[in-house]
Amino acid sequence: MFPKSGKELMEVCEKSQCKIWEHTLKSEAHLSEVEEEQILKNMRDVLNTMKSSATEGLHNKVISVSGLIGGDAYKMNEYIETKETLTGNVMATAMARALSSSEVNASMGKIVACPTAGSCGILPSVLITAGEKLKKTEDEMVQALLTASGVGHIIATNATVSGAEGGCQAECGSAAAMAAAAVVEMMGGTPKQSLDAGAIVIKCVLGLVCDPVAGLVEIPCAKRNAMGAVNALAAADMVMGGVESYIPFDDAVSAMYKVGKSLPSELRETALGGVAITEAGQRMNEEVFGG
C-alpha cells in the first residue's frame, strides 16, 4: 500500500531496509495489479517522452500556439555552448531543458504531465541533468522517476497538485519537491534526506500564485519551470551537504495546502490576478484573444 505520509514512508523504508523507489514500485504493483516489470517498462516510456521534450527546444526554436513565448530554451543552449555561464553547466542546462519542455507543451507537442502539464519541465530537466552529471544508467533514471512519483503521491494524497486549487506552489512546487527528493536518492541519500529536500523546496515556494497571462500555460509558467529546476537542484545539494529541514516534509505539505486554500481565487489559475492583470499581461491577452 502507498504510505499516507512522509513519516510513514520513512518508517516503512527503514523497516524493510529499502529505497523509496523500491517501495513505490511494490505499492504500485499491489494497487494496480500490474507486474513490476511492466510498470518499469511503462516508466521507461515516460522517461523517453521526457527526454525528447527536454531536448527539442535546445536545437529548434519552439514557438507556442499563441505565439507569446518560444525560443528561450534555444537561446539558453546557445549561451551554454558559446559562453561561460555563471552558475555552471549543470544549473544552466537544467534551466534550458526545463524551458524546452515548457515550450514543447505550449506548442501542442508531446510531454509528460508531472504532476501537471504546466509543471512538465521540472522533473525531466532535473533528473536528466543530474543523471548525466552522476553518470546514471537508464534503469537508475527509471528508479529516480519512481522515487519522484512516490513523493508526489504523498503530496497529492495530503494536499493538491492543481494550480486551480493550490496555486503555482502546488504545481511547480510539488514538481520541484518530487525532483529534489529523487536526486537525493540518486546521490545515495536516505529517505529522510529525500523528504528533507522536498520540504526545503516547498518551504521556498510557499505562497507562489498561479497567474497565467491570458490564461495560457506560457507566461510566467515556462520560467517558473526553469526556476523550479534550480530550486530542486539547490535543495538536493544543501541536503547532501548535511543541511536538514527544521520543518518536516509532512508539515511543509500541510502548510502548502493551507496556504493554497487561503489564496483568493484571482490567484489560482483564473488569470484575474498577479502578472496576468499587469499592463503587459493585459496587452498580451488582447493580442491573443482580441479586445
Binding site: 515516460v46 505550449a106 501542442m108 504531465a113 522517476l145 508526489g152 497529492a156 495560457l216
Partner: protein, 221 residues
C-alpha cells in the same frame, strides 16, 4: 484523491498545453464520437466558461476535433486535426455559449451524422485530463469513461435490465458499477455499466439480441 496510480502523478503522456483544456478535451471528443457512432458529418461545439473564453490559446478546439476523429490525447497529429477533418469532409464550428450551472470546462456536442440523425452530448473536463459525461440526448447522467464502459440504450420496461446483465454475466465480465437513466417511465432509457475488465465487441452482439435494446456502445479507454 482516493486510490490513484503513480502514473497519475508522473503522467499521463499527453499533448500540451493543458491537461484539462487539451487532454481532457480530446478525451471528451473521443467519447462523444464513440457514443454517437461513426459517419459524423458535422459538429457544433458549444463551449462554456473557461472552455469558451480560452479555447483558441489552449488548443481546446484542435483537441476536440482530434477526439471526434478518434485520436487519443497523446497523438502527435492532434495539432493538425483541423486539416485532417477538412480532408474527411467533416464540418465543425465553435460557439461560445452559457450552458448554465455546469463545470467551467464544459462542452455540448451537437453531432449530425451522414443519415441526418442528430446526437447531443454534454460533458466536462474536470482536471488532470479526466472527464465526466453529464448528458446524452437530453437525458442527464454521469459517467467518466475511466473504466471499460458499456452504454446501452433501451426502452424502459420490466425485465430488460436483467436480460442485459445476464448477457454480460455470460461473457464472464464483472460489473463494477451500474446506473440507469431514463427520459420518462416507459420511454428511452440509457444504462451505463462500468466493468473491471476490458470489454470485447462480442458483448455488443449479445446485448443487442435483447428485444427492447436499440443501441449498444463500448468504451475501452
Amino acid at each position: 484523491m482516493s486510490e490513484f496510480s503513480i502514473f497519475d502523478i508522473v503522467g499521463p503522456i499527453m499533448i500540451g498545453p493543458s491537461s484539462s483544456h487539451t487532454a481532457g478535451a480530446a478525451r471528451l471528443g473521443k467519447v462523444a464520437r464513440i457514443i454517437s457512432g461513426d459517419h459524423i458529418k458535422e459538429v457544433d461545439f458549444l463551449l462554456h466558461g473557461s472552455f469558451g473564453k480560452t479555447y483558441k490559446g489552449h488548443g481546446t478546439d484542435k483537441a476536440l476535433v482530434a477526439g471526434i476523429l478518434g485520436m487519443d490525447p497523446w497523438d502527435e497529429n492532434l495539432r493538425h486535426s483541423f486539416t485532417i477533418a477538412e480532408k474527411k469532409g467533416i464540418k465543425f464550428q465553435f460557439i461560445e455559449r452559457d450552458l448554465g450551472d455546469v463545470h467551467p470546462n464544459t462542452v455540448r456536442f451537437i453531432l449530425k451524422k451522414e443519415n441526418d440523425e442528430m446526437v447531443v452530448i454534454m460533458g466536462s473536463s474536470i482536471g488532470g485530463g479526466n472527464i465526466i459525461i453529464t448528458e446524452i440526448d437530453g437525458i442527464p447522467m454521469e459517467f467518466t469513461g475511466s473504466y471499460p464502459t458499456i452504454i446501452s440504450v433501451h426502452r424502459d420496461m420490466p425485465g430488460v435490465i436483467t436480460q442485459i446483465t445476464n448477457a454480460i454475466s455470460n461473457e464472464n465480465i464483472n460489473i463494477a458499477q451500474m446506473k440507469v437513466f431514463r427520459e420518462k417511465k416507459g420511454g428511452k432509457a440509457i444504462m451505463i455499466i462500468e466493468t473491471d475488465s476490458e470489454i470485447n465487441n462480442d458483448i455488443i452482439d449479445s446485448i443487442s439480441k435483447v428485444d427492447a435494446v436499440d443501441d449498444v456502445k463500448i468504451i475501452n479507454i
